[in-house]
């Protein structure tokens, strides 16, 4: 799987609007390692394609892992940052910060604001669901729809009041990696790395929570603390993904399900393979998004993931009803 991930990153470098031969790409990679004069091919491969490929991979990993954590934690197979409205929360806060021109001295404002938005939305959805009587799959998904629709409307409102172009709204609502690269990888890493560490560190506890809170306490899990740690970890991963890519749906839903079907439910391998699988999936979705249209035009990558993700969502929903 790790080999498939590396191979995907490599092969994806071949796709792009500017035609490059394999030789040119290898030369560009080699000269990057050895140091050499900047050729046009090298600039394209290094500054444009590699950055974007890595960014889409890491974003996919973050989304898939946070989806896996939400599903395990809420014991709800339909949970993921998108269906729970958490991505919308992060995107809404980020849009607000951009529109109002907020900046925090000495810090990258956008991810921090996205994180705040993610937590606010998470809190809203959980509170709404609890108000409706508990964390059943219907309640959570309904609460998620309400919150994400509401926040989506706010995003649209902010953007139209701000008189910016329609494409900027589309960026946040449908998600895209257009024009993104290494500086965005640097932007997300301070949230991606601790988020992953937190979530993987509590993987065993996540397994035991499948027993239910009460029995988890009885075998020694500090349930409240573990839940908060996992929610913070998954929230950080969501915020990391959203602040560089907008709202990309279904990666966090589809990947953990496929991985669980292949590998069983044990959390630590499941999370690791979700990270790899989510990375590969979003990377190829992005390759499709930027190559499927002619004349260098791009689809938002969220369109691609929704096209295959939504039917999958229905499948899980139907399966859950049967059992």
């Amino acid at each position: 799987m790790a080999a498939a991930a590396l191979l995907s990153i490599y092969v994806a470098l071949f796709f792009g609007s500017y035609p490059l031969t394999a030789g040119a790409i290898h030369e560009a990679l080699a000269s990057w390692f050895h140091g050499g004069a900047d050729t046009q091919a090298m600039v394209i491969v290094r500054d444009i394609r590699l950055g974007r490929v890595l960014l889409s991979f890491l974003t996919g990993s973050a989304l898939a892992v946070s989806g896996a954590v939400f599903q395990g934690l809420l014991r709800n197979p339909l949970a993921d940052p998108f269906t729970l409205g958490i991505s919308s929360g992060a995107a809404c806060a980020a849009a607000l910060a951009l529109a109002l021109g907020w900046t925090l001295p000495g810090l990258s404002t956008l991810p921090l604001v996205a994180l705040t938005g993610a937590f606010a939305a998470m809190f809203m959805v959980l509170a709404l669901s609890r108000l409706a009587g508990g964390f059943s799959r219907e309640n959570l998904v309904l609460a998620g729809i309400v919150v994400s629709t509401f926040l989506g409307a706010i995003i649209a409102l902010i953007k139209s009041l701000n008189e910016e172009s329609v494409s900027a709204i589309v960026f946040w609502i449908l998600g895209s990696f257009q024009g993104r690269g290494f500086e965005h990888v640097q932007l997300m890493l301070p949230y991606l790395v601790p988020g992953m560490a937190l979530v993987l560190g509590f993987a065993r506890e996540l397994d035991i929570l499948a027993l239910g809170a009460e029995q988890a306490v009885q075998v020694g899990v500090a349930v409240a603390r573990v839940r908060i740690a996992l929610l913070i970890g998954a929230g950080m991963l969501t915020a990391a993904a959203v602040c560089v890519s907008g709202i990309i749906g279904f990666v966090g839903l589809v990947v953990p399900h496929l991985v669980r079907m292949l590998m069983g439910p044990e959390s630590r391998p499941m999370l690791l393979f979700s990270a790899l699988g989510g990375g590969v999936l979003l990377l190829w979705s992005d390759v499709m998004a930027r190559t499927i249209l002619h004349h260098g035009a791009e689809l938002p990558v969220g369109v691609v993931t929704a096209l295959f993700g939504a039917p999958f969502f229905c499948l899980i929903m139907a399966r859950g009803r049967r059992t």
């Binding site: 397994d207 035991i208 499948a210 027993l211 009460e214 306490v217 009885q218 020694g220 899990v221």
Partner: protein, 262 residues
């Protein structure tokens, strides 16, 4: 076996959302006892067990297990002292039996640590004792109610504690498996394990437990050696229906028989 108190409960008031279930309850259990908690529905048996296992947050009074105040202990610390077999099992569908039993070892492993060979040995022994070793590669969701109950029992034994709490552990089991379970408990008890079990089956409790505690309305209404308190008068009084008590034809243990109301 060291002498001393395994459980010391004093002035315990506990309940749910403003509804108090247990009222000023005091109970002492010595090391090595095999005790049943009996009583009519809604008398607070399960609440007492949940309070002892540390999952009820709003409790007044004090609970000490092995001379340690359980309120001051972490969940992990409590789980090293006391294992619990609950009444209802969650839906564990895809979880592998071995992983489930290994969860009983969780309080003994280090943070971020893995299960060692010793943990695996402990889990294997517990599965052998509950005749569930052959199930180890199965998924929990494919087990029958009785099989799952044995696996849950193995998880509790793997926890390797001095105190075991059970809530109607035999409720899913057929007659032979019920006797298997109680024989296993007796064997473990003879090896020093202190056992508190909530029971519905009066006769089974009288057959195996040396001490009985009867709860009613959240208070202890009778507490003593089985031979002394398992009487027709007391049982009829507590359960509010006529009950006759005769000695077991073979063991001599007192056994209850229901009577039609005249």
């Amino acid at each position: 076996m060291t002498m001393g108190k395994m459980v010391h409960v004093e002035g315990l008031c506990a309940g749910y959302d403003g509804q108090q279930v247990l009222h000023d309850l005091t109970l002492n259990v010595s090391r090595g006892e095999f005790m049943a908690i009996l009583g009519p529905n809604g008398s607070g048996k399960t609440t007492l067990l949940r309070a002892l296992s540390g999952v009820l947050s709003s409790v007044k009074g004090s609970i000490h297990i092995a001379d340690q105040d359980t309120c001051r202990l972490s969940a992990r610390g409590r789980a090293r002292l006391c294992a619990t077999v609950a009444q209802k099992n969650p839906d564990l569908s895809a979880l592998q039996v071995l992983s489930l039993v290994l969860m009983g070892r969780y309080p003994h492993i280090a943070f971020l640590g893995g299960y060692s060979d010793a943990d695996h040995d402990c889990a294997r022994r517990a599965m052998q004792e509950t005749s569930s070793l052959h199930l180890r590669s199965r998924h929990a969701g494919t087990l029958s109610g009785g099989e799952l109950q044995r696996v849950i029992m193995a998880k509790a034994l793997a926890q390797d504690t001095e105190l075991l709490l059970l809530d109607e552990a035999a409720s899913n089991l057929d007659v032979a498996r019920t006797v298997d379970l109680y024989e296993l408990l007796r064997a473990r008890n003879l090896n020093g394990l202190t056992i508190l079990t909530v029971a519905h089956d009066l006769n089974l409790a009288a057959l195996y437990c040396r001490r009985l505690v009867f709860l009613k309305g959240g208070r202890i209404v009778a507490d003593g050696p089985t031979q002394e308190i398992f009487t027709s008068h007391l049982l009829s009084d507590i359960y509010e229906t006529p009950i006759a008590v005769v000695p077991h034809p073979i063991t001599g243990a007192p056994q209850a028989h229901l009577l039609p109301r005249a």
